[in-house]
């Protein structure tokens, strides 16, 4: 462990955190502009050219706002909860490879902060920690709505974590490794989204629930829970929750891009390794736009339906997809995987549709 290596780590972590925080700020702007365009508006365009200074203005506003702490709140945990929420969102990004090794100042530099041989497990472990911040925020506010919102969202996150974890499995099986770089390199001719489209769909849906985004934004259901677990938060503490949500969006999009959409792979990346980060960035932006687009399109799902969907639809389908992937690998017939899993996916869709129609019929 020489000091140059440590210096390299420090620099890479600093760059990563800087990129995530800037990305968070501009993601809020991107979301507002994109939502506005979908709703045939223009969106924030006053602060700076094209509204590019809007995040700065928002940040300044939040810094100077008064911070309130409820009198009956648990002061320690109330202060700790936003921090506990932000940290996992930031350290989650450590295992994402941004490209092949490049030579910089005569050193071989790998473009990921940590190249673990259990990278996928690391993601699962850290994302399971993220529940704490929300539970603690809800509990420590000493507010009924906040507690309900916190409990709801943690139940939701735990439930969808199972489907999320199972959605990792096809990628692990196909790449025969838990190391993120190996998973990316294994997608050389075909991205995993082609081989396992249903697994990708499950991953993306579970991801939405995991980061509490619409149409799964139950914990923040304004109409029912007056904004849920962060009801009592204001000023910088609120900003931290906000930051956690958006940083998590970025990170989870980059994970999805890495696991299923070929990560940093793209035309010409073999000759110019510096294209890798660019490709990954483009894929992340497209996935983020997808999240925003879904938010603009679909209404929020009722809470019991949400849990039923997670446990009764997504989890069995994820199990089936895992089984199908293993089967295709054992039989050495990779073409079998997309065919069978698409059939399973369509079967699930049809069954859900039928169940819903029957329910509607029974009510009428």
């Amino acid at each position: 462990m020489d000091s140059a290596l440590i210096l390299e780590w420090v620099i890479k972590s600093a760059i990563l955190i800087f990129v995530l925080l800037t990305g968070f700020a501009y993601l809020t702007l991107f979301e507002r502009r994109a939502l506005a365009r979908i709703q045939v508006r223009i969106g924030p365009n006053r602060a700076g050219p094209f509204g590019l200074l809007q995040p700065v203005a928002d940040g300044l506003k939040l810094i100077f706002k008064e911070e309130l702490t409820p009198a009956e709140a648990d002061k320690v945990l109330f202060t700790l909860a936003p921090v506990v929420t932000v940290v996992p969102a930031l350290i989650l990004a450590a295992v994402i490879p941004w490209g092949r090794d490049v030579t910089l100042f005569g050193r071989q530099v790998s473009l990921s902060v940590a190249d673990l041989n259990v990278g996928v497990l690391y993601i699962m472990a850290v994302s399971s920690i993220a529940v704490y911040g929300i539970v603690l925020a809800g509990w420590s506010s000493n507010n009924k709505y906040a507690l309900l919102g916190g409990l709801r969202s943690s139940a939701q996150m735990i439930s969808y974590e199972l489907a999320l974890g199972l959605a990792f499995v096809p990628a692990i099986l196909l790449a025969d490794s838990m190391r993120m770089v190996d998973i990316v390199e294994a997608q050389h001719p075909w991205w995993f989204v082609v081989i396992q489209p249903v697994g990708t769909a499950i991953f993306l849906i579970a991801t939405l629930a995991e980061v509490n985004r619409a149409p799964f934004d139950m914990p923040e259901a304004e109409q029912e829970l007056t904004a849920g677990y962060h009801t009592e938060y204001s000023g910088m503490k609120f900003a931290l929750f906000f930051m956690a949500e958006y940083a998590k969006m970025i990170v989870i999009s980059s994970i999805a891009a890495t696991l299923f959409f070929g990560g940093y792979l793209g035309p010409g990346v073999d000759r110019y390794p510096w294209l890798g980060p660019l490709y990954l960035f483009i894929k992340i932006v497209i996935l983020l736009f997808g999240m925003i687009w879904l938010r603009a399109t679909f209404p929020r799902i009722r809470y019991d339906r949400l849990m039923a969907f997670g446990w009764k639809v997504l989890l069995p389908l994820a199990l089936a997809v895992t089984f199908i992937t293993a089967l295709g690998i054992v039989l050495e017939m990779l073409w079998l995987i997309p065919v069978l899993s698409l059939a399973a996916g369509l079967f699930t869709v049809a069954m859900v549709h039928r169940a819903l129609r029957r329910k509607a019929y029974a009510r009428a």
């Binding site: 945990l77 041989n117 259990v118 699962m124 472990a125 399971s128 529940v131 539970v135 603690l136 509990w139």
Partner: protein, 170 residues
């Protein structure tokens, strides 16, 4: 040397968090101290070149089990319940027994030198997911399957226990 310092610091954290769990009045704080304790144990696993076990530790203990604990505490509102007085002879006896256990362990460790020995440098793929997976699905296949049955039984048991036996259903 770095490793020793790291070990000592983490050991202090582990013991302090365990004591915090033992002594805190509020059950939520106890649960949080235990989460910290599990996290330090996970770091120990990484130091012992068991990254797979370390990540599983965080996912299962911190991510699932302790969240479940917090859930139950918050649902029941059991964080600060008025406790009854323990039996008068129980507390000294408990401390005495714990001391006996500690002395026993210390005797076995230092007097008998039962498990002296330093770590050799490990093989590069020691503790890798592949190695553990191969082991799990070959030599330990039967225990693995039994565990899955156990989990199923636990799941059914938990559901049966918490289901409300109210009238009105059929």
């Amino acid at each position: 040397m770095t490793n020793l310092v790291l070990f000592l610091v983490l050991a202090v954290v582990a013991v302090v968090t365990a004591l915090g769990m033992l002594l805190s009045r509020n059950a939520v704080y106890a649960a949080l101290f235990l989460v910290l304790n599990f996290a330090t144990v996970a770091v120990f696993y990484i130091l012992l070149e068991a990254p797979f076990i370390a990540m599983t530790q965080v996912t299962v203990y911190a991510g699932a089990i302790m969240v479940l604990f917090l859930f139950v505490i918050m649902l029941l509102g059991a964080e600060r319940l008025p406790g009854t007085e323990p039996l008068p002879w129980q507390r000294p006896l408990a401390i005495f027994l714990a001391l006996v256990l500690a002395v026993e362990a210390g005797y076995l460790l230092f007097a008998r030198r039962a498990a002296g020995g330093m770590f050799a440098s490990a093989a590069p793929d020691f503790g890798s997911p592949q190695a553990i997976g191969t082991m799990l699905f070959n030599r330990y296949l039967l225990p693995f399957e039994v565990t899955s049955v156990l989990l199923l039984v636990a799941m059914v048991g938990a559901i049966v226990l918490t289901k409300k036996e109210k009238g009105g259903r059929e």
